[in-house]
């Protein structure tokens, strides 16, 4: 079904990462005494897996919990409940050296590469930082590895001696990628890596990410709000709404036959660069509700164009409706 070579191979491959019933609630403090007055349900009982060598796209609007999932998997944020298994290891149980070893295997690329680069460090030194922390090679080896990695993302030798402010947004993103890759990780969370870039630069970075995946056999969790980008890069795609996963399927299956009304609305809302295409657009009413006080039942029901009475009362379970295609909707 897919025009992406290797998709079939990936489908048969083992899960590298398994996320089970993951929850992350942020306490909300109010008043002068800063008492905890409630919880923000950033991620609320989410389960999925990522296969070795695949790209799992994670889409949804701002605040739906995408970034929090990525950060919790990497233990940059501690979970409220649930488990993450990476290559047989329980990530939330790891401590000390075992946790340090895991950090070599799992890396992250951010939306704003500038914020993640130390402005006082030359790029070469920034890129080799991880190698230093993990005491890999001697100083000279490390510098050489950093320069090699910079070349892989299309930068030159001399760039390693420059400072972050001397680079454009696209170049900084390449530096961020080089930096994430020096430790030869197996799994990378890409959190909106091209959202801040101009279109012509976006495609440069997307192509680099694909090339590196082929070369190093990387596994990506690719977070983005741009559906076109996600469709282009992913093997499978998961859709989130207000802390919940509402749909998950193979890329082509999801984009051809989306089952969840939110996924359908999201797709119809994307403007397509073809003026001849006249589409019927599903315009959702209202704003995205707050994760502080999410709606009862199905969280999408107040905006859902096909909701029935039941939707406001009972939360729909996330179930496999077709092989490999799961959805959380009473009517799907």
């Amino acid at each position: 079904m897919s025009d992406q070579p290797g998709t079939n191979k990936i489908n048969k491959q083992a899960d590298l990462l398994v996320v089970n019933h993951l929850k992350k609630y942020f306490p909300v403090k109010t008043g002068v005494l800063k008492r905890v007055s409630g919880h923000l349900l950033a991620v609320d009982d989410v389960s999925f897996s990522v296969k070795s060598g695949e790209t799992l796209g994670l889409v949804g609007e701002s605040g739906c919990g995408k970034t929090t999932i990525g950060r919790t998997i990497l233990r940059l944020t501690e979970p409220t409940a649930g488990s993450v298994n990476f290559d047989g290891k329980e990530v939330f149980d790891l401590k000390g050296d075992a946790l340090k070893a895991l950090r070599r295997d799992m890396q992250i690329i951010f939306q704003d590469p500038y914020a993640s680069l130390d402005p006082r460090l030359r790029i070469g030194n920034s890129v080799m930082e991880g190698l230093e922390i993990h005491k890999i090679g001697n100083k000279q080896d490390r510098y050489q590895m950093a320069v090699d990695m910079l070349k892989k993302v299309g930068l030159e030798d001399y760039h390693s001696r420059r400072y972050p402010h001397e680079f454009s947004g696209g170049q900084r993103q390449r530096i961020g990628i080089a930096r994430a890759l020096t430790l030869k990780p197996r799994f990378i969370v890409c959190d909106e890596p091209v959202s801040a870039l101009d279109v012509s630069i976006q495609s440069q970075v997307l192509n680099i990410l694909k090339d590196l995946q082929d070369e190093f056999g990387l596994t990506y969790l690719f977070i983005a709000h741009n559906l076109g980008v996600v469709e282009h890069i992913s093997n499978r795609v998961a859709v989130m709404y207000l802390g919940k996963m509402v749909e998950l399927a193979d890329r082509d299956e999801l984009f051809r036959s989306p089952l969840h009304p939110y996924t359908q609305a999201l797709m119809s809302a994307i403007p397509i660069p073809n003026p001849k295409l006249k589409r019927e657009r599903i315009i959702l009413k209202g704003d995205v509700p707050s994760p502080l006080n999410p709606p009862t039942g199905c969280r999408f029901h107040p905006r859902c164009p096909i909701a029935v009475a039941e939707c406001a009362l009972k939360e729909p379970p996330f179930v496999e409706k077709k092989p490999g295609h799961s959805v959380a909707c009473w009517l799907a």
Partner: protein, 345 residues
């Protein structure tokens, strides 16, 4: 400034001629807008598209005369309904901005006054520009908030801007525009800060506004999808200049300029998966230190393909190569040192 109906069916309401807006910085002169010509007809949507820094916003700021130090309009004329905007007094310009030209920016909160209730702000517009009495203005403001789809408008009229979501704030701005029925609305990345489902609502609203009031819209965006779905005519900008100008269909079906072609090829289009996206190599030029010839020359793959020498030496002009389709590129225009390798029927 109306054009004879025989040649064009609609009146031209805005005409920008050879506009140059420069910024005089410590590092040198930034030629942000460097000789831009375009016109807008009543009731149409003119799309202005290009990557960040290409001069879209400075063009719109120039039309509104909102360019501040160290920026300056150094050359050009801007005719709005026949009047040269650049010759108006400050007071006349303020009145023009309120009465006949409205604007929407990317950050709606920045166009609202943080210390006044949104209902007051809409009402004030009505009092100032339409001479409506205070009490009536408030009632009319609530009506307008209802019209643009603000939930619970009677209550929300008492809200302060920070209490609104980005989408709601953008609606309030549109309500103000509606209050004035302006001749021209300049919308600068009006949905860039919003989520897609909210973006769809706002674009819908802008379309409604235009149908109800026959307002012309200059829609500025980097999103080619929005352009394709909203604009009637399109100007593609690159490094301070318009490089291609045509009706929306030919821009997407037969883009002529190598930059436009590259831009269209580099977006991942929903429902149309390609193995590899096209890439425009390199970076946009520094506007202080522009290439001597065509500004796109250092990144242009077609120049290499056709072995054009002239591109590195001389700047092409924006030329109408086929009816209503202008392009700035030596591939389509002869010079005294080369003959154009491509012809357009």
């Amino acid at each position: 400034m109306s054009v004879t109906p025989a040649t064009q069916t609609r009146d031209t309401i805005l005409e920008v001629k050879n506009l140059k807006t420069y910024f005089f910085t410590e590092d040198g002169v930034v030629k942000a807008v460097d000789g831009v010509d375009f016109s807008v007809k009543a009731g149409e949507v003119l799309g202005l598209v290009g990557e960040s820094g290409c001069g879209k916003s400075v063009s719109s700021f120039s039309i509104l005369r909102l360019v501040g130090v160290p920026g300056k309009i150094v050359e050009g004329e801007i005719f709005f309904e026949g009047q040269d905007i650049l010759k108006l007094s400050k007071d006349e310009m303020v009145k023009m901005r309120g009465d006949r030209i409205s604007m929407i920016f990317q950050q709606p909160q920045s166009s609202l006054n943080p210390v006044f209730r949104v209902g007051e702000q809409v009402a004030e517009v009505l009092e100032l520009h339409k001479g409506i009495k205070k009490k009536e203005a408030w009632a009319r403001a609530v009506e307008l908030l209802t019209l643009v789809g603000i939930p619970d408008p009677k209550k929300k009229a008492y809200a302060y801007p920070h209490e609104l979501s980005g989408g709601q704030a953008q609606r309030v701005i549109i309500a103000m525009a509606l209050a004035l029925s302006p001749k021209l609305l300049i919308a600068d990345e009006p949905t860039t800060a919003l989520d897609v489902t909210i973006q769809a609502q706002i674009l819908d609203l802008i379309n409604e506004l235009r149908e109800k009031t026959d307002t012309a819209v200059i829609l500025i965006t980097h999103d080619l999808g929005i352009i394709a779905e909203t604009a009637d005519r399109v100007a593609v900008m690159y490094a301070g200049e318009i490089v291609e100008f045509a009706n929306v269909e030919p821009i997407f079906e037969k883009p002529l300029h190598p930059y436009t072609q590259g831009l269209i090829g580099s977006i991942p289009v929903l429902g149309n998966v390609v193995a590899r996206l096209e890439v425009i190599p390199g970076l946009v030029p520094n506007l202080i230190d522009l290439p001597p010839g065509c500004r796109f020359e250092p990144r242009c793959l077609l120049r290499q393909k056709y072995g054009l020498e002239v591109c590195a030496r001389r700047e092409p002009e924006l030329v109408e190569v086929t009816k209503n389709h202008k392009v700035r590129c030596w591939l389509y225009t002869d010079s005294d040192e080369h003959s154009a390798p491509l012809k357009v029927e």
